[in-house]
Symmetry: D2
Subunit: 347 residues, 4 copies
């Protein structure tokens, strides 16, 4: 941590800051007397957040800057090898590029079975489908809940696909974990810390979606919550962030994929459907995701998008999905060759 003092900080203020660092927090200080101001280096082990916040509030201090990353377990420094997360007989983050696909919501037995069969035939390995739906309006369909979970299980039995479905409240963790192979945390819950703690204790693999206005660092801190509470099986999902641009539903921050590959050992999934919000953009974004080194895709597919209860405009038909999977094959072949997500550079 580096403390930058105000330009005209007094000797007493500087001494008081140093005194607090040493005596209140047990770190060592290292002052640099510049031409314009004094900068104080703080040396020591342990989490410095409280020291940092405290010193920022201390007279004479202009800014306190953290140098080391605030997360630990999820960092590349902590674990060099990529995490491989076992999901039934699959691995996310391993040697195979994985595609998850299915409808936004589970709507009926017919709809989810048709979806499951369609995406399985096209090469998807995991079925997505929401039983609990976070909806902006209280008047919109809120999901089939328990009944939806049962239909997902039925689709799994019929097709062999693993199941990913959303969990919205810590009260439902037990119920959802009975059915889901992967527990999905939606963007709006990325900092629902009560939920993150429950998922830490639950142990089931988790896919954590990045919040609409969350930084990459905050995404990693939320993953750290789950891991620190006991569950190392976390994958991260870039699904678009909120910006001023309205041509797409969100702005796909595709650079987040290589940035995360540099910072963490956790697998990275890309969701082109929510990022774009528009069907025709899903195939090109999916190609880009494979090329840039994501570990997996999660794609919305519906047997009849115009009858979908939610997200129809961004859902592919089964046939469109099949063609997209075909189109992706040579890119996946290149992915296999080089496991391209590895930082390709620096020499």
């Amino acid at each position: 941590m580096i403390i930058s003092m105000r330009q005209h900080a007094t000797k007493e203020e500087i001494e008081h800051v140093c005194d607090r660092i040493v005596n209140d927090f047990g770190y060592k200080v290292h002052s640099i007397v510049g031409e314009e101001r004094v900068v104080i280096g703080v040396v020591g082990v342990g989490d410095v957040t409280q020291c940092l916040e405290s010193l920022e509030a201390t007279p004479g201090v202009e800014r306190a800057m953290r140098i080391s990353a605030p997360y630990k377990f999820v960092s590349k420094e902590f674990q060099k090898d990529r995490s491989r997360i076992a999901v039934r007989n699959l691995e996310i983050g391993g040697d195979e590029f994985i595609v998850m696909a299915g409808p936004c919501s589970v709507e009926s037995e017919k709809q989810i079975m048709e979806s499951a069969e369609g995406v399985a035939a096209a090469g998807a390995k995991i079925l997505r489908g929401g039983a609990f739906k976070p909806r902006t309006s209280p008047y919109d369909f809120q999901g089939m809940e328990g009944a939806g979970l049962k239909l997902l299980a039925k689709a799994r039995e019929a097709t062999g696909l693993a199941i990913i479905t959303e969990i919205m409240s810590d009260a439902d963790v037990g119920l959802v974990a009975e059915y889901a192979d992967i527990m999905q945390v939606g963007a709006r819950n990325m900092q629902n810390f009560a939920l993150l703690k429950s998922l830490g204790r639950c142990g089931r693999p988790v896919m954590l979606k990045r919040g609409l206005s969350s930084t990459i660092k905050e995404l990693l801190m939320s993953a750290e919550y789950i891991v620190a509470h006991g569950n190392p099986n976390v994958m991260l999902c870039e699904r678009g962030i909120r910006t001023f641009e309205t041509a797409t539903r969100n702005t796909c921050d595709i650079s987040a994929v290589p940035v995360l590959n540099e910072l963490t050992h956790l697998p990275v999934v890309l969701d082109p459907s929510h990022a774009a919000g528009k069907r025709s953009l899903v195939p090109p974004l999916s190609r880009a995701a494979v090329a840039i080194g994501a570990d997996a895709l999660i794609v919305e597919v519906h047997p009849n998008p115009e009858k979908a209860i939610s997200d129809g405009a961004q859902s592919l038909t089964v046939e469109q999905f099949r063609r997209m999977m075909e189109d992706l094959k040579p890119y996946v072949a290149l992915w296999n060759e080089s496991r391209v997500g590895e930082p390709a550079l620096v020499g």
Copy 2:
């Protein structure tokens, strides 16, 4: 709702859209044949969200635009008179400008009692203090929880101040409601729909903070959740949004105050502390909040900010708060005169 067809939409596509509007959704259609494209007006009562999403996914449709507001109970159309929310012997949204103040977290009996006495003496009417703390890092102080709630109750008894404190999980609603006069929903939980529903059923007044990247319309939709589930006692809080600017912790969207005053009858609170993230900006922002017509302020005050466990840099000392309250007096006098929040214009 207005459906704009693609420029080269076929006759069949247009007919199919009209057919769906009439037969699947029961609305009337009204087509406008323009020089470049066809636009279809949809006329009828009821919530149009599903119709809108469905048509957006229909071939030939370029865009479906909602004309009417998606919220109902919280709108000025539904209730012309401002809501006055009773909190013990006070009213938020009434004839008195209310100041809530206190520390970020409840840290100890001494700290919360000193805070309460200090802010009460300076003219605050409600004590803030977090017992459950949403923290970005799992390694930061997470709050005193139940013990913190008891200390807040003790401070209330000693000073007569009402209590506002944060609720983070639907599992804790019952516990927090035993102690709190106002249940605060933090920015990160603005779209925690499970929590919003519980608060709707709970009935206790709620202060709903705007999410970091939530639009004003989404804030109103989240308020609608609480009201639609049975609790009309909702106040809204602008606390800064996330933008590219880093000179302040967040960007205080002060225009949200008059915009909300035009759209809703619910009271509006401004939080200058989180908006600015810096102590010296709190007094000028507070003056602006009074002048622009907010109903209340919520301000962070700590007896010893540099020893605060969290948010010290944006907390005023008790003495600074006292001086700020003094400084605000003539502005509050003007507020009283004109109840300036009323749309002053149009003629």
Copy 3:
């Protein structure tokens, strides 16, 4: 400047960095060996930008952080007293709160004369009106250019109001300076460096509008361009930034006013019309601007907004402006009393 080395930077990399700081750039180094990584303090006078960019590109370096501000002449450290900018017989940044008002564009003699007389009668001291108009579309009205400038001069003669008008290209600086009392740089030209340099050489007072996505620091750097090229008469204008919120045309970053008051001696103007984009929000935002300590307002007023060629929706009628000026009087009285822009806090 502080250089943070990568966690596993080699001894050679560290030495190479130190060597470059000392031998290529002539600064002193000051290393701090932390538990996790080495941090290098760079001590010396002069602009460090090039050193910083160069070291960021050097192997083993994780990040190079500037500690001192990159601007000089515009900073409070350089000049403690607020700048007072003389404009005819007025001062911006002095003891009087100044209101500039008028139409978006000069459209005709009748329109500009009516505007000028109306705003003068209501208490404005400076007339705004664009003769050169930056328009998003090439098909929109681009301004009356030279003829518009002449009409502004005529309005000045008739009313005694000073004139502020926009300058869009360095090629026009001479022409516009013949007529304008204040040269306005629009948001889209805030980093048109060729223009800024010309305005530096021109000497005429300049009002520099903040770019739609420019930070406060970048605004100050652009002001520094003008001052460094010889013209100290610069005032800054907050006119709303671009964010995800669409309820207003832009998001008024009102905190920029006290932030600028802490960082610079230059006067600060607020433009509520462009910030809000909607007539009814202009009066409440104007009250907030006075209360928070801006030095001046610039407001769009049109004799007949619905016939305005541009920006009609955010223009007040002359009568609405008159009422707003009336409504502002007690706030301006408070402003006079305390010159409230001064940092009110810290004790």
Copy 4:
């Protein structure tokens, strides 16, 4: 255009609006009387901007929405076939994927010659290098100007590479056009309309970079300026937008590529260097750009990045660039096969 009236608009207000549409602007009206409000469709040919702005300012109107695109010449509706822009013996937007590469600034003869030879050997076809540099600080290196242009010409002669270089002011258009094969408009000048008009008259191919906070629609409007003033040879460049995320210098809005491919016939270039701001992210982003269907890349390469005067941290060495070009080959082969930028979907 659609006019949505306020919920309680009076009959007189509605009639006045209709009257203005018909009599002031010469369009036809088509009213839709909904349950809650009246919506008025406006039918006719021609640019509707002024009508729209005017009606928005008219009493009783809530919102005026444009249905048709505000640009014309650059739209796919105007020209179905992709534009191919001839640059010496090359075509941008044609059958070959083009890579432009070189240093941020021209710094010396040695530096630009080494760069040119290095990037040519690796497969680049166009040399980038700034002679006029837009710098945030007036104290930073502002470019070699005329002397830099001459060095670029010399490098072209030696290597056969075409030249792209930045133009910052309409005053310099003639000078720069003597040397440049492509005139580059930087992000900060995207809405420097005086410059855009000059480039329209100049005729030389232009690469227009998207502004930091400009929407895709605004980018197209700026391109329309150039085309409408006589120059159809425009290519667009996505170079990252400004968001809240700080892990990268800007946020690469990669979806802009397929969005632009749907809306316009103009070629699209991606600049991974400015988008990322960090060397190690350039190769993965470049792969993604090829996969998603961009027409070209523009990449910063410097013989010795740590000695670069600007942008060293995001510049590749010549050797790193060579390896990246090698790595891109199979992706370019796939690009060639399918000219993947074509909308792959819809069926």
